[in-house]
Symmetry: C2
Subunit: 371 residues, 2 copies
């Protein structure tokens, strides 16, 4: 099922030597070290021991930017080791990959709790027909909801002023989610701080520093062409996409995402898993394209749109689960539970909308690549 | 804005004399009397004094069929008097119309509570990922949920057996809705029975009997053409449709219907009103087409689909309101409230889906009528 998509992976249609792989890995390693230096200079971000400094400095939240750049480089290194592993020293790659995955996962957690809270609070305001939610959140480096909740607030503390337009239920639901997700975020922040100070992290950083100067290629790499491995990554993606229920997803309002919305099992929706998997495979495909194309990698708008749809899918899926989880808090008021139910269903419909959007951009691709 | 739609109203494109109006009114009056006779013979339906007989007789629920035929004829008489009022004796039409509207409204109430309950229970099962909801409900004359709840049950009575697959919250929500809507339905049934036994009803029935033999046309009707009045009805429809937010409705997952889903005002969504209005105008247009086309009225599939979408819109809108209303019941468990919140949002998304479907079939019309 690798289909006709193999061509676009390599726009030059000529063999790509392993030099391109080495160059890409070195560039990402350098970027990793740069972000790490920036991170150490600016402090660990808004929500922990170094928060005071970062906040007093004001401006563009360099700590957040640095953490994002660190995650970004770690993801690319890890993904590239995976796709091109046969050309790399096997033992080195096998020990390096899980460490990079651990690091990017640990660093991502804090950010994901913050953006989940922002998403849910915005949805609560939308569902209340309120336009009072601050507009400056769009495009801001840091979620406004999080900015308003830097320090974990005790239960029952005053709500942000813009919450006045909500019903009691929506306001209480917002306060509950704020407490729970801010707590989770604070914990994730501490975990990330601990990780960045750990011997495990220093070992990773040392290996990345070595990688920046020398890439441990296999002997076979000298004559290798990178394209077949990149094509295999694309093949895994297209196979996984082919297994998705795209026909259903292409029918608007198919009501599929909310099936099991009230099912007894409170676990994450099993129906979401294949979509999450495609999201990861799409990312690996994108990184492989970057490797092949070198510095002049053209941005593929189609892939970008499909990837964004899958990011929305993941975000909405997790936000829906957080609303359902919050509704299981003991002794909440019925009005709070009702608002959380509406919120959960709303986010599950965002899940469905994201699948529709993905299907849409993916079909465009199929049309676009035909001459 | 009456547009190019005037032609299709009259497929013959020739003047239509008032005879067609008289014939149509007489036919509907006869149908009304036939349904009334059937209704008296078979008893007043499943849910009241005569329920026992009707149930013991088994089969196709003739009481329900008769009530439906009665409503159907009353709606057509009332709508036709409205559209073609200038050709009819003004005083007669003006006293007759509100009485027919009262009658069809009173008779419709019981049915609407029954189908609302069925819709909500089906949604609860769908949201629970359960296929246990009895399949025989599809197309059955009488909602299964209602069949299972013939007599009003006391609070806390046993749930139907197929509810075992629901979570506690969904089951409790279903039981609460069952109690509330069955109670409302029982009251509506009593009201309908009282109405059918009232002097007011007998006066209407007498007038309909007179109408079956003679239609009080104005003198001007002798030379009149029915088409301009039918075209005016169509013009009111197309104007009202033009005022709908169809561009938004045509974008899947626009999330418009759930705005105000948590708004403080518990009243029916004001955004639904223009759609309800179009539903009524579409019906008047359909009846006017029936008048013009006489016995051989071709079924317009487009109009049928558009009308069905608007029926779904109305049903989902009212079901969503019923779920929100039930959530305001004092002392319900948080799990119940949560399930009702999910249910409310689900039905609001059905509202949005119905708007999308309407937009879809309406656009088809516009394309179809261009040569």
């Amino acid at each position: 099922m690798a289909q006709q998509h193999l061509e676009p992976t390599n726009p030059t249609a000529r063999p790509v030597p392993a030099d391109a792989l080495a160059g890409y890995l070195q560039a990402q390693a350098t970027e990793f070290l740069r972000a790490l230096r920036l991170h150490r200079e600016t402090g660990p971000g808004p929500n922990g021991a170094g928060a005071h400094t970062a906040r007093n400095a004001g401006g563009g939240e360099p700590g957040v930017d640095a953490a994002r750049a660190l995650r970004r480089a770690a993801r690319r290194l890890s993904g590239t080791l995976h796709t091109f592993q046969p050309l790399l020293n096997a033992e080195w790659a096998e020990t390096m990959r899980p460490e990079l995955a651990w690091l990017s996962g640990t660093l991502a957690l804090e950010h994901s709790y913050a953006s989940r809270l922002e998403r849910l609070l915005q949805a609560l305001h939308r569902l209340s027909g309120s336009s009072a939610f601050p507009a400056q959140s769009a495009g801001a480096t840091m979620p406004v909801a999080v900015a308003a909740a830097h320090a974990p607030r005790p239960a029952g503390a005053a709500s942000p002023p813009d919450r006045g337009s909500l019903t009691v239920g929506a306001a209480k639901a917002g306060a509950l989610l704020d407490r729970q997700l801010t707590l989770a975020r604070t914990r994730a922040h501490s975990t990330a701080l601990q990780a960045l100070g750990s011997a495990r992290f220093h070992a990773v950083a040392d290996k990345v520093a070595l990688l920046a100067s020398e890439v441990p290629l296999e002997a076979a790499a000298a004559t290798a062409d990178l394209r077949p491995l990149a094509a295999a990554a694309e093949g895994r993606l297209t196979d996984a996409v082919a297994a998705l229920p795209l026909v259903t997803a292409g029918h608007p309002y198919n009501a599929e995402a909310l099936v099991h919305g009230l099912a007894p099992d409170p676990a994450p929706h099993p129906q979401d898993a294949p979509w999450h998997q495609v999201r990861l495979l799409l990312r690996l495909h994108r990184y492989a394209r970057e490797v092949l194309a070198g510095d002049g990698a053209p941005v593929d708008v189609r892939l970008l749109a499909a990837g964004q749809a899958l990011n929305h899918h993941r975000d909405a899926s997790e936000a829906a689960a957080a609303a359902a989880q919050a509704a299981r808090t003991p002794r909440i008021a019925p009005a709070t539970a009702y608002a959380l139910g509406v919120l959960h269903a709303d986010q599950r419909h965002e899940v469905e909308a994201a699948r529709y959007a993905f299907q849409h951009s993916w079909q465009k691709e199929a049309v676009g690549t035909r001459p």
